[in-house]
Symmetry: C2
Subunit: 206 residues, 2 copies
DNA sequence: TCGACTACCTACCGTCCGGTAGGTAGTCGA
DNA sequence: TCGACTACCTACCGGACGGTAGGTAGTCGA
């Protein structure tokens, strides 16, 4: 009685299965983290048998790594693009744009970025080197931005740049626990974040 | 050949087994979260067989709940005591004291508080009602403190108090991912945190 | 001394995990 | 038309999971 679904050899999309697997894995990883997410769940969400996942990926780790790498790359590119678009703006506006881009990548777009944060903020699963590297590179974007803000005098003198960066990233990533699109607006939140780090009346513009 | 260890009926301490189990569970939960921590690991760390855990607790959930509840209560009491001790100080000093108490509970003391955050920041395991309640009560402490700061004019006008509280808690709890006692000083960090939320030159003292 | 009780133990349960072996239907270039 | 290839399938593996059944030493009050 269980409808066997339409099976048709090459299925609907050619080669799209890999993306579909990653999409479903990202969704499940986002809500459950590494250990709660099982290959059976992923396979079921995709609509195939668990063993078929091994036709596209060699292991669970490989699937998770692909999701996490994509997630980090996505938020990295979004923030880099936002900073490039605001290259002529003042430091405060650049900060606000970067924060908005980060939060949008986290909440507005797919599940990849949230999944990435869930997975390696847990510290649960094994963290491959490629993931560590891409994460490091993304952190450097913020390191650079904080340094730029400090150089422009936009942040209060005496603040530790490293503490500032950790505070900011931690607070933004922590929003996956409380952000609800109907309760908060990313633009408003970004202004709040930026105002904390670079208060009004500070910097070259004043 | 496997040394059967010293078995002696009532063992070393009377009734202390329960605490020992929770101590070990807290340590494991802190580093592994809910799903990675197994009853076998806990039992091994304690030095008893897995089935013996059920003499003290009815289920894994009950153990985890006890650890989490203790962790929240500990940080709650620490922050409340710090605020009480600084009842005569200015708002900025009170904020700094609360932040220092929270961070100390997280990093300076046992594993309970970090375990609590790891467990329900994951959103992994089931969250019993008792845990939700104690967490809510603790959040109210910060809600009250932010309101007090706002009333005293210590934070910039126009800031959303709820956003401020969420940022602060998120950033502090995020520190479990990067805090290392040899790289950071809790006193210094607390001053950094407080300076962001309640910048100098603001409030009744100026 | 003897029953109740405490704090453990060994042995086992069904279930689910990630992963593997080997098969099969459809597609496509030669 | 036919072999190679792709994309899936069924069936199974050993092992780990949380949890249960039932037993056994030691303690202690009556």
């Amino acid at each position: 009685m269980t409808a066997p679904a339409i099976r048709s050899g090459r299925a609907v999309s050619e080669g799209g299965s890999r993306r579909l697997i990653l999409d479903m894995a990202a969704r499940l990883l986002r809500s459950g983290g590494y250990h709660q997410t099982t290959l059976r769940e992923i396979a079921e969400a995709v609509g195939i048998r668990k063993a078929s996942l091994y036709h596209h990926f060699a292991s669970k780790e490989e699937i998770v790594e692909a999701v996490v790498t994509d997630g980090v790359r996505f938020v990295h590119e979004a923030v880099a693009a936002a900073l490039e678009a605001a290259v002529q703006a003042g430091p405060r506006q650049r900060l606000e744009a970067a924060v908005a881009a980060h939060l949008s990548a986290l909440h507005g777009h797919g599940d990849y970025t949230s999944a990435a944060i869930k997975v390696f903020t847990f510290g649960s699963g094994p963290t491959p080197q490629g993931v560590r590297l891409s994460r490091r590179l993304y952190e450097d974007v913020w390191r650079g931005l904080v340094a730029e803000l400090q150089q422009a005098g936009a942040i209060a003198p005496g603040r530790s740049p490293e503490a500032l960066r950790l505070f900011l990233l931690g607070a933004m990533n922590g929003s996956i626990d409380w952000y609800r699109p109907e309760r908060f607006d990313i633009g408003v939140l970004s202004r709040e974040f930026a105002a904390l780090v670079a208060p009004d009346g500070q910097g070259i513009a004043s």
